[in-house]
Structures are given as C-alpha cells and as structure tokens.
C-alpha cells in the first residue's frame, strides 16, 4: 500500500490529538547563526483549533503501531486501524518546513510502542538527532518518554528535548490495573523519577560548567484523564500537588475523558466529556501553582468534588468569610491573592499603586480588579463599596454557616408583601458572584 506524507500526517496527528499538552513554554533560548530556531520562555501559540485549544507544536506520533492494549486509547492493539509510521527523515523535513513558515513553535513527538519500548525510543532519538545536529534546529521539542525503555535511552532522549513527559493518565493504581493492564504505577513513576533526578543533576553541573549540555531544560509534565474512572477531584488534586512537590513537575495537564472506545469497563460512548469538571481542576491547579493554595484547603474527604456552580477560589472564600473583608490598602500580597476577582497581575498592581497613595474603588477598577466579584470581600480606606446589597459579614455569613444545603423557600404559601426583603439564599449569593444576575 502506498501511503504518502499527507495520509501519514492525517493518521498520526489524529492519533496524537488526545494529548492535551501543547505548550512551548519554560525556556528562553536565542537563535544560533548557521541554525534555525529559538524558544521563548512564555511559549507562543501559533493557532487555535476549532475546539479552542492552542496549537503551538506539530503534535504527531512517530507511529501508531502499538503492542499495548490500554482500554481508553485509540491506538490499542485490539483496535482495528490503519497502521503507519514516519521515517526520521520524513518527520524532520516536515518539522523544518512547517517551522520556516512559522506554522509551529516546534515538535511534540509521541509514539505507539513498536516492537519494544527500547526500539521505539531509538526511532525517536534518530529523528531528534537529525533535527538538532543536521538541521541545527533550535526550536522547541517536547518528547514523550516511553515507559519501559532503558534509563540510558531515556537519558539520551532528554538531552535532545526541551520538555519531556510521561502520562500517568489514570489517577490510581486500581484504575490502572483495570484499564491499562500493561502499565503499572511503578513503570510510570520510575522513569519520572529518573527524569527528575537527571534535571537536578544537570542544573548543578551547569553551575560548574557553563557549557554543559542541558537535560530537559523546560522541565517535565504529565497528563491525567478526568472522568474515565470513579476517582474524585480530591484524589486527582492531591496527586497533582504531590507531583509538583515530589517530582518538581512543571505542569500537570487534565484531559476530560473523550469516549473513543466501547468497553464494558469504560463509561458509555454517548457520555459527554466532563469539560466543566476539567475546567475546575485547571482553576485549582492555578491556585496551587500561583496563588499559594494547598490541595487540602480546597477539597477534603467530606467535600471530595468541586462545586460546578462556583469556581474553587470563590468557594474557598465563601467558606472562609471570617477572613474578610480585607482592607485593600493594608493587606499583604498573599491575602490579596485570596480575594475572588483579584488575580496575580492585579494584586501586583495594587502593591505598586499603593506606593504612590491610597486606592479607592474607582482606582481598583483601573487596576483591572473585577469589582463585580471582589466587592463583597474588600474595603477601601475602611469603607465598603457604595450601594453594596450584600455585605460580606452578616447576611452571607449566616447563610453559609447554617448548613451546606441550600435554604429553600418555605413550602407553605405566604402572604405576599410589598416591603419584605426577599430572603437571600446561597444560590442568590452564588449567582451574584458568578455574575448571572
């Protein structure tokens, strides 16, 4: 069968698209004369696909041939598919030609496991060596480490790439056993630990020798599937926090489970992907990385899943009203970050602006604070915002403290009254905060 590059690209990008990571961030590297390509610390998005996701890298598989049989994966050996593979030369040429036209920021290379993990990694190394040494490509390369490959090979791969990742996919040992019989927690965490220690080793060497080559300079990442198994948000978030702390990962990505396979052990194929749940997890992930939150502050055994109506930060604030209202002109940075409607940028601006004089509500608006949310939680020069209906003490506190259940209106008919203040429910407060009214 004669398959050209066009068909290969179609098949191998189609199989790679369920990997959500497409970032090109984490490293600033300037171009070299005689070569092509540089990288930018913040990463650069080159396009956005119809699903609203950033396209930064040419995301493809080396091959979709796979000897494994993970139930949730399109490329599992038991799935009836056309199997193809790029040669290292084809892929390197395609990457360079896309890069020259500024279509992409670099390459995201993953692969099915062909013959053996070692054999697969060798193919990937060949491609990257071609790019780095022959084409002198200085753009971004994200490569997936293949679980089960030898340490020596993983190490070689890591010196050619900017970022490396190993997808955990399923957040618990039980789920793994059930759906990915060829993988174990050990087979995933071992290479992850190897990469972590190599990164640390390499950065201490860099202190000693300025020109020592860098191992995975943009750090390590991973992906967790959300919604394929009964694992709770609490479990996922605690695992995420552990990965940041123990393995020093740069990013943990979440992927709402897309039913791509029919199997008795999986949710039905008619299931809608839990996109909102995925969104909440990302919000919480941000809180862990930039806002100084800990997983245990956001969720616990009693409340193992995120509230889909309110974002995690707002939810935390509603449960900790005793910490509010906060005086904008006095509060330290860490506490400003805890106010719904104030983000990292606006908190920093508040600190800057405070140096030249006290800030009032109209000033806050100019700094980019979302007053619609923040107003319930702050004071400026000791005053709450004018015309504020719900004060942050009193009403909300009473409502929130009572019980986690909503206060439903009394089931008995009541005499209508013109002047009675309507009873505020938790729902009202939530709607206020989410901006629905």
């Amino acid at each position: 069968m004669n398959i050209d590059i066009y068909d290969k690209l179609t098949i191998l990008s189609d199989s790679a698209k369920y990997d959500v990571a497409c970032t090109s961030s984490g490293i600033d590297r300037s171009g070299k004369s005689g070569g092509i390509g540089n990288t930018a610390k913040a990463g650069i998005c080159h396009s956005f696909s119809a699903d609203g996701r950033c396209i930064s890298l040419l995301k493809v598989l080396m091959t979709n041939v796979c000897i494994f049989d993970c139930k949730y994966c399109v490329n599992r050996v038991s799935n009836d598919l056309v199997r193809v593979g790029f040669t290292p030369t084809e892929l390197a040429e395609l990457t360079i030609n896309f890069y020259r036209r500024n279509y992409i920021e670099g390459l995201f290379l993953s692969s099915g496991v062909i013959h053996s993990p070692n054999n697969t990694v060798e193919q990937m190394i060949k491609t990257l060596e071609l790019l780095r040494n022959v084409y002198r490509f200085g753009g971004y390369i994200h490569v997936k480490a293949i679980p089960g490959a030898d340490n020596e090979l993983i190490t070689r791969l890591g010196y050619l790439a900017d970022r490396m990742s190993i997808n955990i996919e399923l957040p618990s040992q039980e789920s793994l056993k059930l759906l990915a019989p060829n993988k174990t927690k050990e087979s995933i965490l071992r290479p992850m630990g190897l990469i972590t220690s190599k990164i640390q080793e390499s950065s201490t060497e860099l202190v000693k020798f300025r020109h020592a080559s860098k191992f995975v300079p943009a750090g390590q990442s991973t992906q967790l599937i959300v919604g394929a198994t009964p694992d709770t948000d609490h479990k996922i978030l605690t695992l995420t926090e552990g990965l940041y702390r123990k393995y020093h990962l740069k990013r943990v990505f979440f992927s709402a489970y897309m039913p791509v396979a029919e199997h008795t052990l999986l949710p039905s194929v008619d299931l809608k992907p839990p996109l909102l749940r995925e969104h909440r997890l990302y919000q919480a992930d941000w809180l862990l990385r930039f806002y100084g939150f800990e997983a245990k502050e956001l969720l616990d055994e009693q409340n193992p899943n995120f509230n889909l109506q309110v974002d995690p930060k707002c939810n935390w604030a509603l449960n900790h009203l005793e910490k509010f209202p906060l005086e904008i002109n006095k509060a330290p940075y860490e506490l400003l970050l805890r106010v719904p409607g104030i983000g990292v940028t606006s908190a920093k601006r508040i600190l800057t602006a405070r140096r030249s004089g006290p800030i009032d509500f109209s000033g806050l608006k100019k700094l980019g604070v979302v007053l619609k949310r923040a107003q319930y939680f702050i004071t400026c020069k000791g005053k709450i915002m004018e015309g504020l209906k719900i004060t942050s003490d009193g009403a909300i506190r009473a409502l929130m403290a009572a019980s986690p259940e909503y206060k439903f209106p009394s089931p008995h008919p009541e005499q209508l009254s013109l002047f009675n203040e309507p009873l505020l429910t938790r729902e009202d407060v939530q709607q206020c905060l989410t901006g629905q009214i």
Binding site: Y6, T10, K17, I44, G52, R101, R355, G363
Partner: protein
C-alpha cells in the same frame, strides 16, 4: 503656565517631532490641547502651530527622561508612540508632564488616568505583537519568505528582534498592510522601510503542498467532541484570519466557518 485648550500643535508624525512638541511646550510655557500628526483634516478655523523637527531638541527631551524620571518611563514613551491609541501624542505628552513633576514615582501612579491609559495602550501593543509572533504566516517564494500582516498597532519594530533571531540564515520580509511598512531581513541585516503596495507572484508547487499539509493538520488536530467556536474566536479573533494559511480558502477544501 496657561492651559490653552485651543492651542494646537502640528508636527511631522515622527517620534523626534513629538519630542520637539514637548520641548516647545516647556520653553514657551504653554500647554497644547491637541497635538496633530499629518494626514488629519484640520477643522475650519483652527490655526495650528507648526513644530519643526529638530534632532538636537528631541535628544535633549528624550535623554532627560531616564535622568529626571526613569529608564522604564523612557521605554514606556518609546512603546507608547507605536500604539494605535488615537490620542497617543497627548497621552505621552501628559505622561511626561507628570513624570517631570513627580519623578520616578509616576510609574507607580497606576490609578492616574493618563498613566493608566498609556500603560493600557502599551499593553495592547505588546500583547498584539506577542500574538503576531505566532500568527505570522510565511510563504516561500524561491528562497525568500514573505508574510503579510494587518495589525492595529505598529508591531514591526517589536517583531524584528524575534524573527531575526529565529531565522538567522533566511531572507524574509514581513509586510504590514495597515501601516504600509515592511521589515526586510537579508544577509544578517534587518531594515524597516515604507512601501505603498506589495504584489506577490504565484507560489510554486512545494509551497502549495505545505499549505495543504498544514491545513490538513489544522483540521485534524481539533477534537470534534470539544468543539468550541466561541472560545476559538476569543483567542484568535477573526481579524487575524485573513492572512493565515489555515483559513485561506483553498482549491478544494473550504474551511467551515462556525458563526456564533
């Protein structure tokens, strides 16, 4: 110093010219209500005062900024001039007045209307230029790469560093249709020039083939079950689509555009 709202300065539209307006205002002890670049129709009875560009005067103003205010303020003024804010001249002028009065503190006065507006305009410029680092699409004409963009702000000076560093061995041109300007990079040297119109020749087969491959990749990489046209529109507004390969209407395939 009299604040005469009827006083109009007209200048040649160059950065030097604007610095000379500042110089004139301080030496004459007057505050202009309008600083007008060329190409704007004067109203019926206005008698604008023409401010001649003078390198010496401009340098005096520009070099005094880091000394009397701060080097960040100098950078802000330089960038401010590239923005598409309709009143950028007055914004920069009033910012400098504040700066000369309050010194480096002006950079912390974020709740001041002038400072806030100027910073906002500059943020728009830098974020647009960051977007273009990704959205610029080159086509190969023989050995030369050519891209066309239609930015709102004058982003070419900001893009220059990035692309020259990225393609040190290529010869390329980025043509800014909005401002009729082009960034040309050839044998390790970059220059910026004004070009009224640009006509491009037909592309060869290799180019057509790579465009086809890219469009196919673009289509394939989207996950159908997550289709979200509104999210895409926020991140990649339609005004960029016109010059992007993946949205160009090809011979056979026409990308379905979801209106929402």
């Amino acid at each position: 110093m009299p604040d005469r709202t009827d006083l109009i300065y007209a200048y040649d539209g160059s950065f030097e010219g604007l610095m000379c307006c500042v110089f004139e205002s301080y030496t004459q002890k007057e505050i202009p209500g309008v600083i007008r670049p060329p190409g704007i129709q004067p109203s019926l009875f206005d008698t604008a005062k023409w401010i001649e560009s003078d390198k010496h005067k401009a340098d005096r103003v520009f070099n005094s900024i880091p000394l009397k205010i701060s080097s960040q303020a100098q950078e802000l003024v330089k960038l401010g001039f590239l923005t598409c804010a309709p009143d950028k001249e007055l914004l920069i002028y009033h910012f400098l007045r504040l700066g000369f009065k309050y010194g480096s503190k002006v950079m912390t006065m974020l709740t001041n209307d002038t400072v806030c507006s100027l910073q906002k305009a500059v943020r728009y410029l830098t974020s647009e230029s960051h977007r273009f680092k990704g959205f610029v699409r080159f086509s190969a004409y023989g050995e030369v790469l050519v891209a066309v963009i239609e930015p709102k702000n004058f982003v070419l000076p900001l893009l220059s560093l990035h692309f020259c560093d990225r393609y040190p061995n290529e010869a390329f041109m980025i043509y800014d249709k909005t401002h009729s300007a082009a960034l040309i990079y050839q044998s390790q040297k970059a220059k910026l020039m004004f070009i009224d119109e640009l006509t491009l020749p037909e592309v060869d087969n290799t180019e057509v083939e790579y465009r086809r491959l890219w469009k196919q990749f673009y289509q394939t990489i989207a996950i159908e079950g997550r289709n979200n046209p509104r999210c895409r529109m926020n991140l990649l507004p339609k005004r960029y689509w016109g010059q992007m390969t993946e949205f160009a209407k090809g011979d056979k395939e026409i990308i379905s555009i979801d209106f929402l």
